[in-house]
């Protein structure tokens, strides 16, 4: 069974999930571009890393499950991996930024712990 004989409801649902996920990622990137300080900007891409990723992974699972006629859950690996790594990158990057701002005594540096 290929994409040609995917039923209509599945195609519509897959497209809706993928478009919603892409919209979340796009909003996150717009936020990355438009927000002012680094500590505000650091939160914006998390929109794509959580909601956008989850919706697109759900679309992929649904698509391949319906197309192959069995439950295909391998895309959950991507979801699991991103769920584990996103907080780590944000934590390390935030620490690096705080360290740099404090050592340069910038005005917008976070207060010392």
């Amino acid at each position: 069974m290929s994409a040609a004989d995917l039923p209509g409801w599945a195609a519509c649902l897959v497209v809706a999930l993928a478009l919603a996920g892409a919209a979340f990622s796009l909003i996150g990137s717009i936020g990355l571009l438009r927000l002012r300080g680094f500590y505000e900007r650091a939160h914006a891409p998390a929109l794509g890393a959580t909601a956008g990723m989850a919706l697109i992974v759900a679309a992929s699972i649904l698509y391949f499950s319906v197309a192959e006629g069995r439950l295909v859950l391998r895309d959950l690996v991507i979801g699991l991996f991103l769920t584990v790594t996103t907080p780590i990158t944000l934590l390390l990057l935030g620490r690096a930024a705080a360290f740099r701002d404090r050592s340069e005594r910038n005005a917008d540096a976070p207060p010392d712990p």
């Binding site: 290929s2 497209v15 993928a18 996150g28 990355l32 571009l33 992974v57 690996v77 990158t89 690096a96």
Partner: protein, 94 residues
């Protein structure tokens, strides 16, 4: 519209949105203003590129793009962690 057309146009539009998101994040990489902003933009480029590859795999009905997406995600994680450590210590491995 038949379901292949819905899939082709809808997933193509989703892919275009993800590529636009990559371009916006790439603009942040180029503009800065500081090194941590560039690293954050690079991480977002990796993330959106990975999602675009997953969407491309759906659009072309091929299961092989899953591995590519996984590897891109792992490379993005490793690159961001290495760059963040570099920003703190001035070297990646002490």
């Amino acid at each position: 519209m038949s379901s292949p057309e819905i899939l082709a146009y809808g997933l193509g539009l989703a892919q275009l949105m993800l590529i636009l998101a990559m371009v916006l994040a790439g603009w942040r990489v180029l503009r800065g203003p500081r090194a941590q902003d560039r690293v954050l933009g690079l991480d977002t480029v990796y993330l959106n590129g990975m999602l675009a590859i997953v969407t491309h795999g759906m659009r072309t009905d091929s299961g092989f793009y899953f591995e590519a997406a996984l590897i891109v995600g792992m490379l993005g994680f490793a690159a961001t962690v290495a760059l963040a450590k570099f920003l703190i210590h001035g070297e990646v491995i002490r």
